[in-house]
Symmetry: C2
Subunit: 346 residues, 2 copies
C-alpha cells in the first residue's frame, strides 16, 4: 500500500476518514499474554527497550490480534534521559527511578549529541519499517518522545507517582536553571524524533503526560513553546512526517496548543469532551482519542455507550480513535477485540 493511502496518515493529513483509523496508547503491554512472555525473558525494562528484536516483536503483537491502523514503537519516554546518561532504572511496582537532577553543573553535563546512544531504539524503528509493510500493509509506524516538560518532571523529581513538586518548584523558583534544562531537552528531542523518522517512522507523537500540572503561563512557556520549536525543526529535517501532540489534562488550553504548535493532530485525554474539542480545535488539526481506559476494562454496553458518544461527536472530522490514556494491565483482551469490531463498522 502506498504510504499516503494508509488510513492513519490520511486522517493526520486532514481527511475525515471513516470508519476512523484506530490504535490504542500502550497497545503493546501487560494485558497481552504474549507480551508477558517476552517480558519475562528480559526482566530489566530498559534492556527490553534497547533490544531491537524483542522491542519490534512486542510492537507488532497487538496488530496481529486486532489489526490496528498503527504500530507504535515499543519504548519509553525516559529513553532520552537514559541516552543523555542520566541513571535510570525501573523498580518493580515503583515505576521509573532516576538520579534527581538539581544543579546547573548537571544540566551542563548533558550532551545533546548523546541521543545517538539511543541507536538500539532507532534500530527497532528500522526493523519495524521493514516488517510492517509485509505483515500489516495498511498500518502506519508511529515513533514518539516525551514532551520536554514531562521528561524534565521525571528528571528533576527522580521518580513518578507523585505530583512532581520538585520540578514544579524549580520551574517557578529557578527559571534560569529550569530553562537551561528544557533547552537541552528540546534539542535532544528534535534529534531523537528526527532519527526515528529517518529510520522509518511515518508519524511522531509527543507525550506531554503532565502538561496539566502547569498554570496557563507555565503551559505556554514549558509546553506550547518547546512543542512549537520542535515541530518547526522537524519540518526542516523530516518534512513529510506529521506530529501528534498530547498535552494531557490541559483542558481548554488544548485549543491554543493546537493553533500555536503546528502539530497535525492533538490527542484528547479521557476527560475532554469531544464535542467541545470538535468546535474549539481548528478544523485542520485532527483529533485523536479518547475512550476511558476503564470503560475498556469494563467492556459491554457501558463501553459501547462511551464509544458511540465519541464516534457521534467526531464523525465527519479528521479523527483517529484511541483511548484517553494508556491500556491498563487488567484489560481483558476480548474487550479490545469487541472494540475493534465496533470501530470497523464506522
Amino acid at each position: 500500500m502506498d504510504a499516503r493511502s494508509k488510513p492513519l496518515l490520511r486522517a493526520l493529513s486532514g481527511e475525515p476518514v471513516w470508519p476512523p483509523p484506530f490504535w490504542l496508547m500502550r497497545q503493546a503491554g501487560r494485558y497481552l499474554p504474549e507480551y508477558r512472555r517476552v517480558r519475562a525473558e528480559v526482566p530489566d525494562f530498559v534492556a527490553l527497550c534497547t533490544d531491537p528484536a524483542r522491542a519490534a516483536e512486542v510492537t507488532l503483537q497487538p496488530l496481529r490480534r486486532y489489526g490496528m491502523d498503527a504500530a507504535i514503537l515499543f519504548s519509553d519516554i525516559l529513553m532520552v534521559p537514559w541516552a543523555l546518561k542520566r541513571d535510570l532504572r525501573f523498580a518493580e511496582g515503583e515505576g521509573p527511578l532516576l538520579a534527581p537532577l538539581r544543579t546547573m553543573a548537571e544540566v551542563e553535563a548533558l550532551d545533546v549529541g548523546g541521543v545517538a546512544a539511543a541507536a538500539p531504539v532507532f534500530e527497532t524503528v528500522a526493523r519495524l519499517a521493514e516488517a510492517l509493510p509485509r505483515e500489516h500493509p495498511g498500518a502506519a509506524l508511529i515513533g514518539f518522545a516525551g514532551g520536554c516538560w514531562t521528561v524534565a518532571c521525571y528528571m528533576v523529581e527522580g521518580r513518578g507517582g507523585g505530583e512532581f513538586a520538585a520540578a514544579r518548584r524549580m520551574a517557578h523558583a529557578e527559571p534560569g536553571l529550569f530553562a537551561a534544562l528544557m533547552e537541552r531537552l528540546e534539542q535532544a528531542t528534535i534529534r531523537y524524533l528526527a532519527a526515528q523518522a529517518k529510520a522509518g517512522a511515518e508519524a511522531l507523537m509527543i507525550f506531554d503526560s503532565w502538561a496539566g500540572l502547569l498554570s496557563p503561563q507555565g503551559f505556554r512557556r514549558w509546553v506550547i513553546g518547546p512543542t512549537a520549536r520542535i515541530r518547526a525543526a522537524l519540518k526542516e529535517l523530516v518534512p513529510e512526517v506529521p506530529v501528534i501532540g498530547f498535552p494531557r489534562l490541559s483542558g481548554p488550553l488544548i485549543a491554543e496548543y493546537a493553533r500555536e504548535t503546528g502539530v497535525e493532530a492533538v490527542a484528547m485525554d479521557t476527560g475532554l469532551d469531544p464535542a467541545w474539542a470538535r468546535d474549539a480545535v481548528p478544523p485542520w488539526v485532527a483529533l485523536q482519542g479518547n475512550l476511558d481506559p476503564m470503560a475498556l476494562v469494563a467492556g459491554g454496553e457501558g463501553m459501547m455507550r462511551e464509544v458511540e458518544a465519541i464516534l457521534g461527536a467526531l464523525r465527519g472530522r479528521p479523527f483517529v480513535f484511541n483511548l484517553g490514556h494508556g491500556v491498563v494491565p487488567p484489560t481483558p483482551p476480548e474487550h479490545v477485540a469487541a472494540l475493534a469490531a465496533r470501530l470497523r463498522q464506522g
Copy 2:
C-alpha cells in the same frame, strides 16, 4: 458587620468586589508552625477533626496572620464516610486508608442518618460562628464536603495516592451498585452540608477533587447530576447559603457544570486559563482561584507574575482569589504574607 456586607458573600452573590476577597484552600495546615504545635498534641488526624476546640483553633490561625476574607472549617472530606461508620484512619506518609467498599450489602448497610455522628464537626462550625464575628468581623465562614464522586473514589478504593482504578471500574462495570452508593452519599452530603449551614456556615464548598478522572458522560452522571441535586436540596433547607463547586481538572466541562448545577461559584484548578473561564462560565456564576500552589512556594517575582495574570483576567467579574489546589507544607509563611499584601492593593 452585617453578613451580607462581607466581601466573600458579596462576590458569591454576583458582585464584582475589588480588591477581590481571598482565602486559600488548606490555609490551615502544616506550613504554619502554630498548626504543627496543635497537631503534635493530637497525633490522630480524625481525633483533631472531631475536637471542636482544637479544630476551631487551627481554623482561625491563618486569619490571625493574614486576615483572609474567609475561614474554612478545618475538617476532611472523608468525615462523611467516617460518620457513616466506614473504618477510616490516616497513616503517616500514606494519606487516608479506608475499608474498601465493594458490595451491595456494604452499600445497604450505610445509614444516611448516621451523618448525625459528625456532631463534633457541627460543633466546630458553631464555635467558629460564635468566635468569628468577634475576632474577624469581615470574614465569612465556609463549611464543606467532598463531592460524592470523589468520596466514592476513596470509599471504593480504600485509599488515595493512585488513580482510583477500582472506583472507576465499578462506575463502568457495575453501574447499579455504584449508583446505589452514590445515591446514599448524595443524601448524606445534603444532610451534612445543611447541618453545617444550620450551625452557622455562611457558604458551602463541594470539593470534587477527582472529577477529572471521568469521561464526559461519567462527569455528567456522577458529578453534575449529584451536585445539581445537592444544590437544589440545600436551596430548600438553607436557602440563604451560597455554594462553591470545585470540579477539579474538569477542563472545559466546568462551564457546563457552572450552568447546570446551580452553584453560585466555581473554583478553577491551577491549569485552567482564567481568561477562558471569564468568557465561558456564565457571568452570574462567580469564579474562584487559581494561583499555582508551587508559585506560592517559590514566591518573589515569579509568583507575582502569576498573580497579575489572574487579577488582570478577572478584574470586573465576581471573583474570589484563591489557589488552584491546596497550600503545600513547604510553603514559606512569608510568601503568604506577600501575597496577601499584594491582593489588598487590588
